[in-house]
Symmetry: C2
Subunit: 391 residues, 2 copies
């Protein structure tokens, strides 16, 4: 069958070269990647199989990485990655969710037998889907190898996007705008919040007539009414009441690349306090987007935001954004640059961020966000969707 690999092989080769340069810098002979986004970034592998241990393994000395996963998922690796079939290693089902056996024992045994020159191994100590037991089994099976923390080694490389990657993010931005439109249109007095979520999800996956949508790393987050003070509540099946505010936070996703987008809408006329809060957030977002250009730092961007909302008498002590791109559940953030005090990352062209400066008061919250790519002279938002709605 035809390969589903998303990028040309040269693009993967370029990424791999950057990773190996960093490995060499850090004296790492072998890098074990368990973050599904990093696995995909380097091999193209894409599947909902990260609920069992799996890895991409890069040897400094080897041309091609290895994929290691459940035997059942080898076919998926053949279909989606650019790797040669002989690079796909696997373990059998008796190792799945077993209390006595662990897939990392299989990997360690293979390594011990086939790669005798390895001295220093890098692992992702804070990646999702890499458990303390996985580390323990891998380490104890690999006698004589020193394990060091290589967390974010690949994520840092992902910060600057290629033209192809930005192409997918712009498609994701189009999907996000369509999904937001579907959600906003479903907000009506008497409708259920779950029906709004259903409309959003349908539009996210349908995508456009030209290209379909992928599943975003986070489901629609739609806190409504008094729940708007709780940003990570998903949705309920309560009916929407007149004047209720609803936060709709969602992303468009295309080939695993994300463009998140949040709006806060009300069913009918909003409360005066809601309008004042919205106005502050909108002015803050606009001011920040005008300010962004290559050369400014992440913490300067956050300062700009603070200066706007301070004039309204509000304060928000959490970060207002983070780097985005390719990702898998449970998060679309890249865990590298954050728009917050102390982050001195300098913005450079082709970095991409989700700017999400919500304000949550005791009884109400407003979130209005934009995803943007840093350009030569400023920035470009990924979705075109108006910033305030009363429905």
């Amino acid at each position: 069958m035809r390969s589903l690999t998303v990028f040309p092989k040269e693009e993967y080769a370029g990424r791999l070269k950057k990773v190996k340069d960093k490995m060499a810098e850090n004296g790492i002979d072998v890098l074990f990647l368990s973050d599904p986004a990093n696995m995909n970034y380097l091999t193209g592998y894409d599947g909902w199989s990260f609920y069992v241990p799996q890895m991409v393994i890069i040897f400094l000395e080897d041309e091609e990485p290895y994929w290691f996963g459940r035997a059942q998922d080898v076919n998926g690796a053949r279909a989606t990655s650019w790797l040669s079939p002989c690079r796909l290693l696997s373990y059998s089902d008796e190792y799945v969710h077993s209390t006595t056996k662990h897939p990392m024992e299989v990997l360690a045994a293979w390594l011990t037998q086939h790669k005798k020159n390895v001295k220093r191994a890098g692992v992702e100590m804070e990646a999702y889907y890499f458990s303390p037991r996985a580390l323990e089994r891998l380490e104890s099976g690999c006698k004589g190898i020193t394990f060091i923390d290589a967390n974010l080694l690949v994520n840092e490389i992902r910060l600057i996007k290629s033209k192809n990657e930005i192409g997918y993010m712009k498609k994701a931005g189009q999907i996000a705008a369509l999904a937001m439109e579907a959600g906003v249109n479903a907000v009506k007095e008497g409708a259920r919040v779950c029906d709004v979520a259903a409309a959003v999800s349908q539009a996210q996956i349908r995508g456009t007539d030209q290209f379909g949508g992928d599943y975003p790393s986070i489901v629609p987050l739609i806190p409504a009414g008094a729940l708007t003070y709780a940003p990570h509540v998903t949705w309920t099946d309560e009916k929407i009441k007149a004047g209720d505010p609803l936060i709709i936070e969602l992303a468009g996703c295309c080939s695993r690349y994300h463009a998140p987008l949040a709006r806060t809408v009300t069913a009918g006329k909003p409360e005066p306090e809601f309008k004042r809060l919205s106005a502050a957030v909108i002015e803050g977002v606009e001011t920040v987007l005008d300010y962004i250009k290559p050369g400014v730092t992440c913490e300067e961007v956050e300062q700009k935001w603070q200066s706007v909302i301070a004039r309204y008498g509000f304060c928000k002590d959490s970060r207002i954004g983070y780097s985005i791109g390719i990702n898998y559940p449970p998060d679309w953030g890249e865990h590298t640059a954050s728009l917050r005090p102390g982050d001195k990352t300098v913005l450079r062209p082709n970095m991409a961020f989700h700017l999400i400066p919500g304000i949550w008061l005791e009884e109400m919250g407003v979130e209005i966000s934009e995803s943007f790519v840093v350009t030569k002279n400023g920035c470009e938002t990924l979705s075109k969707y108006p910033q305030i709605e009363e429905t």
Copy 2:
């Protein structure tokens, strides 16, 4: 605002008692739970916040557990859990995705100051969302405390469901049937696979007129055509061709309780080999469902399946099912009992399983599944949906 906690407080109290009994048996003074399903099971806490470190902490000596999470998520814990506000501990945003600070440092400092009598701590060494670094920071911040692996301690208790839990699983089963119907109806020559996925997702979240749907722990898995040999591929935006088989694996979800369901359908007339494979799987499923009753073991159930497909000349070496219930991404399985050789778990009333004996050949796969609850004399499937479809 009104509390969103799902079960009566007595039900949580009963669960907590069972957990404490097991803690006492194992000499554990304090149990750190990072599995979001276990957190919810004991406190009701529900939010898409598991992409940052969070925990429920149970002290053997204390009446009420503690919740520990990001400051921004305290409101969500107030809204969804039964815990008193003074039991909600938090860390500020400077600890989120930081390369220098870690939330577990905050938790360790609190513990050291307030709980001086703790000697032995249990942690979930193989739970999702508990990283090797989190363990390292927690351990090194808690001098004098011995850490032991308490993985699955709570999951084992979850194996037997209460009447209330089965009520939610039956609702989930109704949603699963509706979602399957929506998916099957969308399968047509010329339609895109993503449009089938969109229809499924919309139906999963809409639920019924009486109750809404929750997001399942796994997105719809819809490998089509030759991709049916790759069970964890999600979907593409390719058009469906006449005769193409499509696997639709999905779950209905209600208040985080799951009822998974899989069918394999074809757009138009199926190939003869597909029909032969389907017939074997259907006979296997039916034979197994007839066989199930309290007293038989998980491995005996799997043996029954093997005896049917052997007659057709097929073999399948992966497990054919697993325990299900409350869960969060990335998995709806409970990681305890599996229907496979070597698993000697004895079936008891009110256990629930997903029986999913797919067979994947070199170029094609068929999955037909049922979720069931073990009853006094046999079992009851959670969804009512026919087992074969040509559309």
